[in-house]
C-alpha cells in the first residue's frame, strides 16, 4: 500500500452534510446520524474531535452527487464506484466526502442489493483523515464494498485500521490500545432511529408499553414530527406520519437532562416563540433546546401562573398562536410571546365542542388541525373550528401508531390473530393485562396505515 500522504494538523474538525440523497428511503436525520457515528468510529480511538456545523466552512463537506460532479472523479451510476473522499491538506476540498447518489443507500436493511451507508462512510472518512487503501482482508480500508458492518453504535474498527490511524494521530488519551472507550452521552448528536426490520416475532420486555394498547401520557408535535409518550418511553413519527420504529425509545436517552428516575411525563409542547420544547411533570417543568435541557431547570409550573399539581395537556393552537394548558375540567390560555397567562383563566373545559373535558394531551399538526387525545381515541379539530370534525373519535393506535384493528385492541390479540385468527375484539378500555404476558408481539411491519 502507499503511505499516507497527509494528515490534519488540527484536532478539531467540523463536518456538514451539504447535500442529501434525493430518492433514498433514508431520511435526512438518519443520514446525519450515520455520518456522526461513522466519524465517531475514528474519534473514539484518536485525539480527533468532529463537530457538525451548519455553515459552508466545514472541514469535511459531505455530498451525495451523481455522475460528473466537477471534481474530476465522476460517478458511474449504480454499482462501480460508490464513494470517494479527499485526503487531508490545505486544498479547499481536503476532507470532502462524496457518495454516489445513484446507489441504493441503505441502513439496517435486509435488502442484499443495497449499499450500506454506514459501512461506506466509515471507509471514506478513513480517507478524509489520511488513510489509504490496504489489502488486509479484515480492514475497513479495503477498496471493495464488503457489505454492512453491523450496528453503528457498536462498531469496532479492525485492529489493522486502529494501528494505522494511531500511527498518524496517536492514541486518544482515554483509550488504551486494547480497550474500546465508554460511549459518552454528553455530546449533542443526531438521533439514529431504530428502523423497523423484517423480523416477525420480537421479544417484548414486560416493562415496555405496547404502542397499540397504550393511552398516552403526552403527545406533541416537535419540529414537525409527532412524539407519543408513555411511561419511560416514546414513539416518534416523521413528518409524513411514518413510524420511525415499532419499538419505543427511552425518554431519558434522547431528551438528555431529564432525571433518570422520571417514570413518565404529563405534557409536552414546542413553544412557538423560540421553538424550545417544554416538558411537564407534576409541579415542575423543563425547557429543552433541541434534545438537551437548558440550564436552570426544572422550574416550578408557577412560572406559568399555573397552580401546583401540574397539568394534563398542553398545546399551541395554530389559530391564535396561544398555548392552552389543561387540568381536569379546567383550561388556561397562555401567551408564550409575552410570557404571561391571559386574563380570565382558568375556564371550564372544553372550549371545543365534541372533545372530552379531560384530556391526556393535545397537539397541533402540520395539516393545520388540532388533535386531542384521550384514552385510546383521538379527536380532530380543523383549523380555527370550535368543534370536533365529524367521524371522530378515531383510534389513535390505528391512525397514528401503525396498528391493525386487532393490534389496536392489545398485543394479546396479535398473538391470537397470528395463531387462531379468531378476530375476536375486546372493547376499548377492557384490556385484560394478564393476557398480554405472552412476552411476544407479532408484527407484520408492512402496514401502510396512515403512512
Amino acid at each position: 500500500t502507499t503511505p499516507a500522504l497527509t494528515k490534519w494538523n488540527k484536532r478539531n474538525l467540523s463536518w456538514r452534510v451539504r447535500t442529501f440523497p434525493r430518492d433514498s428511503s433514508l431520511g435526512r436525520d438518519t443520514v446525519r446520524a450515520l455520518m456522526y457515528y461513522a466519524l465517531k468510529v475514528w474519534s473514539d480511538i484518536t485525539p480527533l474531535n468532529f463537530h457538525e456545523v451548519a455553515g459552508s466552512n466545514a472541514d469535511i463537506q459531505i455530498d451525495f452527487s451523481k455522475a460528473d460532479h466537477n471534481d474530476g472523479y465522476p460517478f458511474d451510476g449504480p454499482g462501480g464506484t460508490v464513494a470517494h473522499a479527499f485526503f487531508p491538506g490545505d486544498h479547499h476540498t481536503a476532507g470532502d466526502t462524496h457518495f454516489d447518489d445513484d446507489e441504493a443507500w441503505t441502513f439496517r436493511s435486509s435488502d442484499a442489493h443495497g449499499t450500506d451507508l454506514f459501512a461506506v462512510a466509515v471507509h471514506e472518512f478513513g480517507h478524509a483523515i489520511g488513510l489509504t487503501h490496504i489489502s488486509a482482508i479484515q480492514s475497513i480500508m479495503r477498496p471493495y464494498y464488503q457489505g454492512p458492518v453491523g450496528d453503528p453504535l457498536k462498531y469496532d474498527l479492525p485492529y489493522e485500521d486502529k494501528v494505522r490511524i494511531w500511527q498518524l494521530y496517536g492514541v486518544r488519551e482515554s483509550v488504551s490500545p486494547t480497550a474500546k472507550p465508554e460511549a459518552t452521552e454528553t455530546d449533542n448528536h443526531p438521533f439514529l432511529p431504530e428502523l423497523p426490520d423484517n423480523r416477525t416475532t420480537v421479544p417484548l420486555r414486560k416493562d415496555v408499553p405496547h404502542r397499540c394498547n397504550a393511552n398516552f401520557d403526552a403527545v406533541a408535535q416537535i419540529r414537525g414530527e409527532a412524539f407519543f409518550f408513555k411511561g419511560k418511553y416514546f414513539w416518534r413519527l416523521t413528518r409524513d406520519r411514518h413510524l420511525v420504529s415499532l419499538q419505543p425509545a427511552q425518554i431519558h436517552r434522547f431528551w438528555r437532562g431529564l432525571p433518570l428516575h422520571l417514570d413518565s411525563v404529563d405534557a409536552v409542547y414546542e413553544r412557538t416563540s423560540d421553538h424550545k420544547i417544554v416538558f411537564f411533570k407534576g409541579d415542575r417543568y423543563w425547557v429543552f433546546k433541541d434534545n438537551n435541557v437548558e440550564e436552570g431547570y426544572p422550574r416550578p409550573v408557577s412560572d406559568f401562573s399555573l397552580p401546583p399539581g401540574g397539568i394534563d395537556a398542553a398545546f399551541s393552537w395554530a389559530h391564535n398562536d396561544k398555548t392552552y394548558f389543561f387540568k381536569d375540567h379546567l383550561y388556561w390560555r397562555y401567551d408564550d410571546h409575552a410570557r404571561r397567562m391571559d386574563p380570565g383563566y382558568p375556564a371550564e373545559s372544553p372550549l371545543w365542542r365534541g372533545i372530552p373535558s379531560i384530556l391526556d394531551d393535545a397537539m397541533r399538526w402540520s395539516d393545520g388541525a388540532s388533535y386531542f387525545f384521550r384514552g385510546k381515541d383521538y379527536w380532530k379539530v380543523l383549523d380555527s373550528e370550535l368543534e370536533a370534525a365529524p367521524g371522530y373519535p378515531q383510534s389513535t393506535a390505528k391512525d397514528w401508531l401503525v396498528c391493525s384493528d386487532l393490534q389496536a385492541d392489545g398485543p394479546e390479540n396479535e398473538v391470537r390473530a397470528e395463531g387462531a385468527r379468531t378476530g375476536a375484539r375486546s372493547r376499548p378500555g377492557q384490556h385484560d393485562e394478564s393476557r398480554s404476558d405472552s412476552g411476544y408481539e407479532v408484527c407484520s411491519c408492512t402496514s401502510d396505515a396512515s403512512s
Binding site: T2, H84, H91, H127, H133, Y144
Partner: protein
C-alpha cells in the same frame, strides 16, 4: 481461454483508474505492453486477495465489477492522483 476484447479493455481501463497501470500517454497513445499488463493484473490480484496469476480470469473480472471506492489502490508514478 484468452480474455475477450471488451474484458481486456475494461481491465486496462480499470487498472489505470485504480493505480495499477500508468494512464495511456495522451500524446502518443502508446499501448500497454503485455508484460506490464500482466504485472498490473498480478498486483491487483494480490491486493484483492486473489491468486496472483497475472491472467485476467473470471475471478479477477468479478472483483473488478465489485462496487468499490473511487480512490486508487496504488500510487503509480505518472498516474493521476486524488491528492
Amino acid at each position: 481461454p484468452a480474455p475477450r476484447t471488451e474484458d481486456l479493455s475494461l481491465g486496462v481501463e480499470w487498472l489505470s483508474r485504480f493505480g495499477y497501470l500508468p494512464p495511456p500517454d495522451p500524446v502518443t497513445g502508446q499501448l500497454q505492453t503485455q508484460e506490464e499488463l500482466a504485472k498490473a493484473i498480478a498486483a491487483m490480484q494480490r491486493f484483492g486477495g486473489l491468486e496472483a496469476t497475472g491472467v485476467l480470469d473470471e475471478a479477477t473480472l468479478k472483483l473488478m465489477k465489485t462496487p468499490r471506492c473511487s480512490l486508487p489502490d496504488l500510487a503509480v508514478p505518472g498516474a493521476r492522483r486524488k491528492r
